[in-house]
């Protein structure tokens, strides 16, 4: 099995997921979980190779002439992500089967989720920049489907669209960034660009690359001020939030920055931009979590806090920061995945997830409570849990950040205090205290819904207790991959009594105090804080979206007047300007002087045409206008005949005939064409019409000034019979030599035909409905 197969497996199984879901009904979740579980086992088989310091790369050509390949690269970083994605994915599929049991659209959930998993694996494993971008966009696209799962709810649709627009806009910026990077470094493969890092950092494009790539990463990873889409995306079913909005998709931006750190990192720009955005996001969102009582919102903002921390660590760039980054990343994925699933179980069983309405659930939901608590303790950074080690390392990294250690350490402690309080909010409030009556009769969630929190929670404890299990196998290679140079370290539970430990104690005490004061805080400062940092950025999004819509509305009204006369005027007027200007400025006006070889019958035909045109223009009735135009059309056909082009002449005749039939059919139904009433309007129409005629005439005259190139004509004449076995050159050109043009033309004809057909039928349907009094 190759990595390509592993990445595409999710997509392939996704296609069959609806059938599997229908066939196996409630046990489909367990069955489909075999896919991510198998992928986890497959990726785990790379662990010994990666632990020994090697990497693995494979490449399959996709569009080789523009350097797009399915090239996949496995090193510590991509392996860590792949294991998180497939490992947590296993439990999410099982959990989803329980959470959405009996839902009529559950098949669609499996389909989108497996496709998402495939895309996410593609993002973290791709070595080719464009393949990476395609998978990146696929994650945005599939997450749109997943967030909007409850598509009958307006809030869901809004959240899905918001996430798509924010991450999609960022994705476009990132595309620009990676293309510039490929131009600057001369390769599409990340592994090759790493060797060109110095060239790229010195390149004139560097600042642009940096800003564009950061725009992609910051929007995807919900960095302030683009963070608002993530809490809004909590409208999604909880398994989706647990997967996309904690462990995977939102970490794609973090992955991207970590992956590009060896290429773009190490400059002052990188340092301040990435660390700055990360640190601000970390502090702002950690406290925003405290302004909500909805468990999922609290967890969502604490996720944004974690994303901020990770981005900040990547920006710092020194070895401690890299070490902290990978440990915090894994720690967060484990506890946050478990906590989201726990929140979903509470919501599912109790009918609400508002902590103010919940209480005393520990006795009725013992498993959910127990495993949720383990995860929450890890989030709070209590010793013996993986979260503790992660937090210690973050403090250590902050202390080692030489440009501004005090500023960063204060920010980190402040943020972690709020995180401890959040842990209390999601555990103590719903599970302790007196039992409160809830909208639904509460009982324990089914096994499918607590097995995930159980495994992830217990892993937080095991890795916290025995961190050396992680060090050599995955953490050292992962941190080395982010740093771009081999690092050496080992993880331990106990570092002795040092500054980070003292800070941890401060954090814990501060967190307890904040938790105690939470009810007061919510009543006093939190509303204002929330307005400033959560409502305002989202209002800015709404404002820009609405402005765009108003401009679109305004210009649609301007151009789509619904009056055929104005459409024709616009089209003809613009054509005259667009053709006329270059004609006059580039080619010049040319009027032939020699009129001697024009025969009298040609003059006669020209006179006939002019008479026809004048008659059409002044006609009082539509029928006369049509017939007059017919005179012009048939005269043109005669001219074709005179210049020996029988094919054209026949076509022109037939088209004229059918046009008369068509127009006659329309005219019978029409109330009659009203004349332009005002003299000004008539003058304007005359100007437009005459200039259009003039433009065509002058263009034809100008064509005479260019000497006729007989190459194509000669080629067609010589080869029409030899190659294409036909003597009628015109037809051979149409169906053979230039068949692609014809294919384009008949496609336009087909689209126009279906369009006209639909318009007429729709008109009929509306009329009928009106007659029946339905509308």
């Amino acid at each position: 099995m190759s990595v390509l197969v592993a990445v595409l497996l999710g997509f392939v199984v996704a296609v069959f997921a609806p059938w599997i879901s229908r066939l196996l009904k409630d046990s489909a979740g367990w069955a489909l979980a075999i896919v991510p579980a198998g992928l986890f086992a497959y990726f785990a088989s790379f662990l010994p190779l990666i632990a020994s310091g090697e990497t693995f790369r494979e490449s399959t050509p996709w569009v080789p002439y523009i350097n797009i390949h399915f090239s996949f690269y496995i090193d510590g970083l991509s392996l860590l992500f792949a294991l998180i994605i497939s490992g947590i994915g296993t439990f999410i599929v099982i959990y989803g089967g329980g959470y959405l049991k009996g839902d009529r659209d559950i098949a669609r959930f499996y389909l989108s989720l497996l496709m998402f998993m495939g895309s996410m694996l593609g993002v973290v494993l791709s070595d080719n920049l464009l393949t990476l971008f395609i998978f990146w966009e696929l994650t945005s696209f599939t997450s749109y489907l997943l967030i909007g799962y409850y598509h009958e709810k307006a809030a869901s649709r809004r959240a899905a669209l918001q996430a798509l627009l924010v991450t999609g806009t960022g994705g476009l910026a990132m595309l620009g960034g990676v293309i510039l990077m490929a131009l600057a470094g001369g390769s599409m493969e990340i592994t090759e660009l790493v060797n060109e890092a110095d060239v790229i950092r010195e390149h004139g494009f560097y600042i642009a690359i940096l800003i564009l790539v950061c725009a992609g990463a910051f929007t995807k990873s919900a960095q302030f001020p683009f963070h608002y889409w993530l809490p809004a995306a909590m409208e999604a079913p909880t398994p989706v939030s647990a997967y996309l909005h904690s462990a995977t998709m939102v970490k794609a931006g973090v992955y991207l920055l970590a992956r590009f750190n060896p290429i773009l990192g190490g400059t002052d720009w990188w340092l301040w931009l990435v660390t700055g955005f990360g640190a601000v996001t970390m502090v702002v969102s950690a406290w925003l979590a405290l302004s909500f009582t909805d468990m999922k919102r609290v967890l969502a903002y604490s996720t944004v806090m974690a994303l901020g921390t990770l981005v900040m660590l990547i920006g710092m760039g020194h070895p401690y920061a890299m070490q902290a980054m990978v440990v915090f990343l894994l720690g967060h994925s484990l506890y946050k995945g478990a906590l989201f699933m726990m929140a979903g179980s509470v919501d599912h069983e109790a009918g609400t997830r508002d902590v103010l309405l919940l209480g005393g659930l520990r006795k009725v939901m013992p498993y959910t409570f127990a495993f949720g608590t383990i995860a929450a303790l890890s989030m709070a950074g209590i010793p013996l849990f993986l979260g503790f080690i992660g937090k210690e390392l973050v403090y250590e990294a902050a202390l080692g950040f030489s440009p501004a250690p005090v500023l960063i350490i204060i920010a980190a402690v402040l943020a972690n205090i709020a995180l401890v309080a959040s842990s209390g909010i999601v555990i103590i409030r719903p599970f302790f205290g007196e039992f409160k009556e809830t909208p639904k009769h509460v009982h324990e969630a089914p096994v499918s819904m607590w097995i995930g929190p159980a495994v992830l929670g217990v892993l937080s404890l095991v890795f916290g207790f025995l961190p050396f299990l992680l060090s050599d196998y995955i953490m050292v290679p992962a941190a080395s991959a982010v740093a771009g140079v081999p690092l050496e370290f080992y993880l331990a539970i106990w570092h002795g009594i040092n500054l980070p430990l003292i800070l941890s104690v401060v954090t814990l005490l501060g967190g307890i105090l904040v938790y105690k004061a939470w009810d007061n805080l919510r009543g006093s400062v939190m509303p204002g804080y929330k307005t400033a940092f959560a409502t305002l950025p989202e209002a800015a999004y709404d404002f820009s979206l609405n402005s765009m819509l108003s401009v679109a509305y305004w210009q649609t009204l301007l151009f789509q007047s619904g009056n055929l006369r104005y459409y024709v005027m616009t089209i003809v007027g613009f054509t005259v300007l667009l053709v006329g200007y270059p004609l006059v400025s580039k080619a010049g006006i040319y009027i032939p002087v020699d009129w001697s070889d024009i025969h009298f019958y040609e003059w006669l035909l020209a006179g006939l045409m002019i008479a026809g045109v004048l008659a059409a223009a002044t006609a009082r009735s539509g029928l006369i206008a049509v017939i007059s135009l017919g005179v012009v059309g048939y005269s043109i056909a005669l001219i074709y005949l005179l210049f020996s082009a029988p094919d054209l002449a026949i076509t022109q005749m037939l088209v004229e005939t059918l046009t008369v039939i068509l127009v006659a059919l329309v005219l019978i139904k029409l109330p009659g064409v009203p004349r332009e009433p005002s003299p000004v309007g008539r003058a304007r129409n005359i100007v437009i019409a005459v200039s259009a005629g003039l433009m065509v005439t002058l263009t034809l005259f100008a064509a005479f000034t260019v000497p006729f190139d007989p190459f194509m004509a000669g080629y067609f004449t010589e080869n029409s019979y030899v190659i294409a076995h036909g003597r009628n050159i015109v037809n051979v050109i149409l169906v053979d030599f230039r068949a692609l043009d014809t294919l384009g033309e008949i496609t336009v004809l087909a689209v126009a035909g279906v369009g006209i057909f639909a318009l007429i039928k729709l008109h009929n349907a509306v009329k009928q409905a009106k007659e029946e009094g339905k509308i």
Binding site: V735, A739, A750, G753
Partner: protein, 138 residues
């Protein structure tokens, strides 16, 4: 629809003639003036005449195929002729030829005829889709 005995009687004679002429134009297109587009227009004119004299219901019944379906079918044939070229390992829409001898006559059969059938069908389908629905427009 126009109720006219003269038109109806004339159509009975003209309709088969026009259809045969349409096929004739289509087939001779390769060596003489004609081809899918022109043939299609004449074919469409035949059915349009029939629709005007006897009504679209009868015309649709006579045509058997829905005009919009004909449009799709036409595009299908045109693209198919291109796909054949790709299957033969040549660029899209390169003519592929075979020269079988049928009853002693040398024939040159090529994929462009398939393409031209496609053009013919799209033209007939388009024209009739528009004319029929305009006629039926109450």
């Amino acid at each position: 629809m126009m109720k006219s005995l003269i038109l109806e009687t004339a159509t009975k004679l003209l309709f088969p003639l026009l259809l045969m002429f349409s096929i004739f134009l289509f087939l001779r297109g390769h060596n003489d003036p004609g081809g899918g587009f022109i043939g299609g227009l004449v074919g469409a004119a035949a059915f349009a005449l029939f629709a005007i004299s006897s009504g679209t219901d009868k015309a649709r019944k006579l045509l058997r195929i829905n005009p919009t379906f004909m449009i799709g079918l036409g595009l299908f044939f045109a693209i198919l002729s291109g796909v054949i070229s790709v299957m033969a390992g040549t660029p899209f829409l390169t003519g592929q030829w075979a020269f079988p001898v049928v009853f002693g006559a040398d024939l040159s059969l090529g994929s462009p005829i398939l393409f031209d059938i496609g053009v013919y069908l799209v033209v007939v389908g388009f024209t009739l889709a528009v004319i029929f629905s305009l006629e039926e427009e109450g």
